[in-house]
Amino acid sequence: MSATLRVNPIACTGHGMCAELLPEVVELDRWGYPVLVSPAIPRSLLAHARRAAQACPTLALLIEEKAGKHR
C-alpha cells in the first residue's frame, strides 16, 4: 500500500498546522500555504501524517491511500 499527501487548495486557509506536525514533508511558502516536499509519504511517517490530516482546522490535508502490490 502506498499513501500520498494532497492539499485541497480551496479548503486550505493557511493555518500552517501541517508544517508544524509534519515538517519532514510540509513546508510553508511566503504566504503561509503548504508546499509538499514530496507527495509520497514514507511508511515511517504515515502515523504522523494521519495526525496532521486530522488536526487541520479546515480538513484540507488529504491522505490518499492506494492499494499496491503488498497487502
Binding site: N8, P9, I10, A11
Partner: protein, 427 residues
C-alpha cells in the same frame, strides 16, 4: 442528405461555409443539410480523430465514450463562454451559425444518453443570448431537439468558463472552479455524468455526423485531422477569425490575415494561458498541439497575436498577468497571493528595471504558483510569464540594467475586455 450537395472533403471553409446565408434554420438546412441521425456517432467521431477545440485538445470521441459508458441519464453542456479575451471564434459561430452548434448538442445528447442539455455563454452578452433563444425557438417549432436545449448566461469571468466552474454554476453555485475528483464526466450537472464540449467541437461533430470520418480526414494532417478556427489579431492587416487546415503554419496564418502590418518580433499563440514565441521560431511551426509543444508553445483555442518589434513584451505581459490576477476566483492561496505578486514583479521589471531584484523575484514566483491551485489558472499565468524569459532573453537583460524601454510608451496592444464587459463581484 436529400437535396444538398455533399461537401467536398478537401475544400475549406467547412464550418464557415454558410457564414453569409445560414444563420436562420431554413438557410442553414439548405446549406448544410437536415439534422442527421446519431447512430454510431461516437465510433465515427473516434475514427475521425476530432480533438476538443476549447484548448486542451482531448480526443472528443473518447470523452463522449467515457460519459456514455456510465450508468443512468447524462447531461451535455456546450461551452460557448469564450473567456479568452483575444478569441472571437466561438462568438462568431454562435452568432452566425447557431444551428451548427445546436445540431452538435442534440447529436451529442442522443449519443451519450443525455436528458438535459445546456448552451452556456457569458450572461453579459444580452444580444447573443437573445439570438440563441430565437434559434432554439425555431428548432422547437420544427421539432428538432428531443432534449430541450437551455441557453444559459454564466458569469463573464475568465475562470468561470473552466468546465468545473460551469457545472458548479448550473448546480446553483457562483461559477468558481471546484476541487476534483469528482470530475464532470463522473459527477456533473445534477449529479449526472456530464459531457462538456466547446461549441466549435460540437459544430465539427454536426458535420462529421453528416459526412463521416473519412470526409473529416480529407483535410489536415493524419495525426491532426480536420480544420480549426483561429482568431488572428495584433499587428496584421486583416485581423479576424479564419478556418484553417490543421497543420497550417503560424506564418501562413499571418499571411492569410493580410500579412504583418509592421515589423514583428514575436507571436503570442494560445491566448493568455499560451506562450510567446520569437517570430522566427513561430513562423514555420504548424498550428497543432504537437507542433506547438515541440516549439515550446501551446495551441490552446487557436489564438494568434502578431506582436510588433517596437512594442514591449514585458510590459504587455505584466498587464495581462494583472488581468489574470484580478480574474482569479481567489479561492486558493497561491493563486490569490501569487498572481498579484507576479504581476507586480513583472511590472517592476518592465518599468523600473531590476530595482529590488524583480527579475529574480519573477522567476522565484513561478514554482510558487504552478500546480498549486484547484484549477489551471495559476499554471496558465505562469506559463505565459515563463515564456517571456525564454522568448525574450535580450529584452529581459536590457530591462534589468536599463529600466523602461521605448516600447512601454506605446498604447497597449494585447486585448483585454473593457471594464463594462467584466464582472467584478461574485453573485
Amino acid at each position: 442528405m436529400t437535396g444538398t450537395r455533399p461537401m467536398p472533403a478537401a475544400h475549406l471553409p467547412r464550418l464557415l461555409a454558410g457564414i453569409a446565408d445560414a444563420t436562420g434554420l431554413r438557410g442553414y438546412e439548405r446549406r448544410y443539410g437536415p439534422l442527421p441521425g446519431s447512430g454510431r456517432l461516437i465510433t465515427v467521431v473516434e475514427a475521425a480523430g476530432l480533438t476538443g477545440r476549447g484548448g486542451a485538445g482531448f480526443p472528443a470521441g473518447r470523452k463522449m465514450r467515457s460519459v456514455a459508458a456510465r450508468p443512468g441519464r447524462k447531461a451535455v453542456v456546450a461551452n460557448g463562454a469564450e473567456g479568452e479575451p483575444a478569441s472571437r471564434k466561438d462568438r462568431l459561430l454562435l452568432s452566425r451559425l447557431p444551428h451548427l452548434v445546436l445540431d452538435g448538442i442534440t447529436l451529442a445528447a442522443a449519443a451519450v444518453g443525455a436528458d438535459e442539455a445546456y448552451l452556456c455563454v457569458h450572461g453579459t452578452e444580452g444580444g447573443l443570448l437573445r439570438r440563441l433563444d430565437h434559434a432554439v425557438a425555431e428548432r422547437q417549432a420544427a421539432g428538432l431537439d428531443p432534449v430541450p436545449i437551455q441557453v444559459t448566461g454564466i458569469p463573464a469571468r475568465y475562470v468561470s468558463s473552466e468546465q468545473s466552474s460551469i457545472v458548479q454554476y448550473l448546480n446553483g453555485g457562483p461559477g468558481k472552479p471546484t476541487f476534483s475528483p469528482p470530475r464532470p464526466h463522473e459527477r456533473g450537472v445534477n449529479g449526472k455524468p456530464t459531457l462538456v464540449h466547446n461549441v466549435e467541437t460540437l459544430a465539427h461533430l454536426a458535420l462529421i455526423a453528416r459526412h463521416g470520418d473519412r470526409w473529416f480526414r480529407g483535410t489536415g494532417l493524419p495525426s491532426a485531422p480536420g480544420s480549426m478556427l483561429v482568431t488572428v489579431s495584433g499587428a496584421v492587416t486583416r485581423p479576424g477569425v479564419y478556418e484553417i487546415e490543421m497543420g497550417t503554419t503560424a506564418g501562413e496564418v499571418i499571411v492569410l490575415a493580410g500579412g504583418a502590418a509592421e515589423r514583428l518580433q514575436a507571436l503570442l499563440v494560445g491566448g493568455y494561458f499560451g506562450a510567446w514565441l520569437p517570430v522566427e521560431t513561430a513562423w514555420p511551426t504548424p498550428l497543432t498541439h504537437s507542433g506547438l509543444k515541440a516549439a515550446g508553445g501551446v495551441l490552446g483555442a487557436g489564438i494568434v497575436i502578431a506582436f510588433p518589434a517596437a512594442a514591449c513584451p514585458i510590459a504587455e505581459t505584466a498587464r495581462v498577468v494583472r488581468y489574470l490576477a484580478e480574474e482569479s476566483a481567489g479561492q486558493c492561496g497561491p493563486c490569490r497571493f501569487g498572481l498579484p505578486a507576479l504581476a507586480d514583479a513583472l511590472a517592476s521589471l518592465a518599468f523600473f528595471g531590476d530595482r529590488g531584484g524583480s527579475a529574480h523575484d519573477v522567476e522565484a514566483l513561478f514554482p510558487l504558483v504552478e500546480r498549486r491551485g484547484a484549477c489551471r489558472h495559476p499554471d496558465g499565468a505562469a506559463q505565459l510569464g515563463r515564456s517571456v524569459f525564454r522568448a525574450f532573453p535580450a529584452d529581459v537583460h536590457w530591462h534589468r540594467w536599463q529600466g523602461a524601454c521605448d516600447g512601454v510608451r506605446r498604447p497597449p496592444l494585447l486585448p483585454l475586455p473593457g471594464d463594462e464587459e467584466r464582472e467584478w463581484d461574485w453573485g
